[in-house]
């Protein structure tokens, strides 16, 4: 791509400008769409969080519970669904939308209208999911994995399950179009001189994530079409009576489901690769290794899906293969973790809130990664399968990993997004409430699981009552942190400390990020002139 191509001129294409609400509804500005993604995710994270609170309320006492089993199943299913599809994925899409064009020195995404569409098409499914609680016989209750026969019309007769499936298909459209947009943007719109190996780590993370979305999400869509057709039209894809196979559903679902885990964490890796070196006054350590490790994780992610199925009845050879492949992912992940540590090592560290979340990410993600290696060992997995050990593991990865990274990224780039800083004082408290609250809630789940407390079950044996009460109290700590964060965001948007200059953290002399070379917030066209990277 030559310089001339990057500088496009559209002198006659200036259409009417909208203002106010219409401006946001019609915008094709990647920054505004990014912000809307983040608000969308924030709202749904609250919905998912409230559902988590209902789960903890329900599990306070094994004998006297506020909900019946069916209601509990709905709450648990919708907690997972909301958090994954409506909170975590849109949140990272929001970061990607806002940051990727800025970081590569582009005016916008490659397809600005498609970008807006990918955002707005999430609203019908969001409404379907949230409103399905009021449908006849309630929301979907088959878990976020929705295995048949549990999700068949025999055991999930209500409309909730149908709405769930349709919503997931529609959300898939959003993800796929978003992925296409990111791939073309990164391939074709980099500023002159920004070669692939000069791209910032966050852009690399999104490049790999977009490939995962592009290949994995359609498999989920196809799988959901078959499941819906089994329910509505009487086909037999997953029904043994007609020659179908429920195990096949698990294969297809996890062929999507495991790359999905990396979709939910790789952009977080990217964020951390910016936050840690920035506040340690160092360049990111081992850039090349980090890039290759990210690609490697993405690629290996497609060959490990059946480690979710060690107890489902797959052959011993398959178990061995998937066990070894899963453990192999620890290698590139280890490369990343050591590189992050080396990026901080010996640096002049500034303990900003973003940095604290970044370091907290490393602490918690390592723990989640270690239990992941444990679960890749077949005999151990068979023992703790479907127990709270697994719940603890993936919350360490998805909360300790993804959400801590999102928080780090938000505190870091908030001045760039809004022109104002988040309050560091409240941020500090928010971090400690989240960090301690998280450990409080999820650490005991490890031994509860090892002792045999089953997940996905509405009650538990009386001897687990103490730790469940303990965990439910911990939820209140996290809730306090979340409320504080909400207040912080609202207050800082209105009256936060103004960001000074293009580079309010004073980091860019070393980091050389293009996003810090334009104003806070950037103008609609990002850069007066397309920058040239040398």
């Amino acid at each position: 791509m030559s310089t001339q191509e990057a500088v496009l001129t559209a002198p006659h294409a200036q259409p009417k400008a909208y203002t106010g609400l219409m401006d946001w509804l019609t915008t094709t500005d990647h920054k505004k769409i990014g912000l809307m993604y983040l608000i969308f995710a924030f709202f749904n994270a609250w919905v998912g969080g409230i559902l988590a609170g209902l789960i903890r309320w329900h599990l306070w006492d094994p004998a006297h519970s506020p909900f019946n089993g069916a209601q509990y199943n709905q709450i648990m299913t919708m907690h997972g669904t909301t958090m994954i599809f409506l909170a975590a994925m849109p949140a990272f899409a929001g970061f990607g939308n806002f940051l990727v064009p800025l970081m590569i020195g582009a005016r916008d995404m490659a397809f600005p209208k498609l970008n807006a569409f990918a955002f707005w098409i999430m609203f019908p499914p969001m409404l379907m999911l949230h409103l399905s609680f009021f449908a006849h016989s309630g929301a979907a209750a088959g878990g976020w994995w929705s295995y048949p026969p549990l999700s068949s019309s025999q055991f999930s007769a209500g409309a909730g399950e149908n709405l769930w499936i349709i919503a997931v298909i529609l959300l898939g459209i959003s993800s796929i179009l978003g992925a296409v947009n990111f791939l073309v943007t990164i391939a074709d719109m980099r500023a002159p001189g920004m070669t692939w190996m000069k791209m910032p780590m966050f852009v690399w993370a999104w490049e790999v994530t977009a490939w995962l979305l592009l290949i994995a999400v359609p498999v989920l869509s196809g799988c959901m079409v078959m499941l819906l057709s089994d329910r509505l039209f009487g086909t037999g894809f997953f029904r043994p009576a007609l020659g179908g196979d429920p195990l096949l559903y698990q294969h297809l679902f996890w062929f999507f489901g495991h790359p999905e885990v990396y979709i939910l964490v790789l952009p977080g890796f990217g964020i951390i690769s910016h936050v840690l070196p920035s506040f340690a006054s160092k360049k990111v350590f081992g850039y090349k290794g980090m890039v290759y490790a990210t690609c490697c994780i993405g690629l290996l992610g497609f060959f490990v899906w059946a480690h979710h199925m060690f107890t489902s009845g797959i052959s011993p050879a398959a178990r061995e293969f998937f066990s070894v492949a899963s453990m192999a992912i620890a290698v590139p992940t280890g490369v990343k973790i050591y590189s992050w540590l080396a990026s901080v090592w010996g640096g002049t560290i500034r303990f900003t809130t973003a940095m604290k979340f970044g370091l907290g990410f490393i602490a918690l993600f390592i723990l989640g990664g270690l239990t992941g290696v444990m679960l890749a060992v077949v005999p151990f997995d068979v023992t703790v399968h479907d127990t709270y050990f697994v719940v603890a593991h993936f919350h360490f990865v998805l909360f300790g990993g993804s959400i801590m990274a999102m928080m780090a990224g938000l505190y870091f780039w908030f001045p760039k997004m809004t022109g104002r800083h988040l309050s560091e004082k409240m941020g500090n408290l928010h971090f400690w409430l989240f960090f301690i609250g998280f450990l409080w809630v999820f650490t005991p789940m490890h031994w509860l699981g090892m002792e045999g407390m089953a997940r996905r079950v509405a009650t538990y044996r009386p001897e687990f009552a103490f730790w469940n009460k303990f965990i439910s109290l911990g939820f209140l700590i996290m809730l306090t942190g979340a409320i504080l964060f909400l207040i912080n965001v609202v207050k800082s948007c209105i009256s936060g400390e103004r960001a000074v200059g293009d580079d309010p953290w004073q980091i860019n002399e070393l980091q050389q990020g293009l996003e810090w070379m334009t104003s806070c917030p950037p103008p609609a066209y990002n850069f007066d002139e397309i920058p040239v990277v040398e």
Partner: protein
């Protein structure tokens, strides 16, 4: 790296330009340089299309579950989808006509190919389903499934494969400035595609009416109908694209470097063709 900086909030455009060292300046047409001109245009179409699709899907679902106002929603949603999609498309055509497509730096073909990869992954899911079941089934096709005649589908296959060539020749003729020939090749391609669909429709009818073979009778029928059905839907979309390309060509909207729709339609047609060959071997031959 060098920097270009400005002090504008989200909604403001000014002509202020700070030129930094090593920054490429360039306005290919030599006009005064206004960075605000680079901001993408706002558009109502995306949100309208999202709303229309939401209504359409809700309506279809209600028809499937026999809820009374489903048909109304479906009609409203379908019309809305068609209108907004056309509106969106015409906006893009107008916008892009005002700029030189080679100057945006964005390779539209790349975007379309990425999209086809995801389409391929959906079809891949259905193929995976068939091959997985075959690997574990004692008999394939399962006992009770009808023997699918191969003669007509083979003719369909030849037609579809042939139509890939005719489309390609059409593209070639267009590039060599023979617009009349190009349009004829496109018509022939569409005719072959329609004949293919006719053969498929005839086969569906025969199987349903004479062999009493439906999608409810077992996994073979489910797979047969969903795969041929999903593929047939793609052929229809491909025909729609050919129709659009044909009329745009007739109106003289393409020139030798600006004919992305033609290229996209051709890619799509080849894709549908390749999927069919795999499908033919998977379902009919083995």
């Amino acid at each position: 790296m060098s920097l270009a900086s400005s002090r504008n909030g989200y909604a403001m455009h000014t002509n202020q330009t700070v030129t930094a060292p090593h920054v490429a300046t360039g306005s290919a047409h030599g006009q005064a340089h206004d960075p605000a001109a680079h901001a993408p245009a706002p558009s109502l179409w995306p949100i309208l299309l999202a709303a229309a699709l939401g209504i359409l899907v809700t309506g279809l679902y209600q028809i499937a579950t026999d809820i009374s106002w489903g048909k109304l929603l479906t009609v409203v949603g379908f019309l809305g989808t068609v209108v907004t999609a056309l509106g969106w498309a015409s906006t893009i055509i107008v916008e892009r006509r005002q700029m030189d497509p080679l100057q945006t730096g964005v390779d539209l073909r790349k975007g379309f190919l990425y999209f086809l990869i995801s389409e391929g992954a959906i079809f891949g899911t259905f193929f995976a389903h068939v091959y997985y079941l075959r690997a574990f089934a004692p008999h394939w096709p399962p006992v009770g499934a009808p023997h699918l005649a191969t003669t007509l589908p083979a003719i369909g296959t030849l037609l579809l494969v042939g139509s890939s060539f005719t489309f390609n020749w059409g593209h070639h003729s267009f590039l060599h400035g023979k617009k009349g020939a190009a349009k004829n090749w496109l018509l022939l391609t569409a005719a072959m595609g329609i004949t293919f669909l006719g053969i498929q429709g005839f086969e569906w009818g025969t199987l349903q009416n004479f062999d009493k073979f439906t999608l409810k009778q077992g996994v073979f029928g489910s797979g047969y109908y969903i795969m041929t059905g999903f593929h047939g839907l793609h052929v229809m979309i491909g025909l729609l694209m050919i129709a659009v390309v044909y009329f745009r060509m007739e109106r003289g909207e393409f020139n030798d470097k600006y004919h992305f729709s033609l290229t996209a339609a051709e890619y799509y047609w080849h894709f549908v063709d390749i999927v069919w060959v795999a499908l033919f071997f998977t379902i009919y031959l083995f």
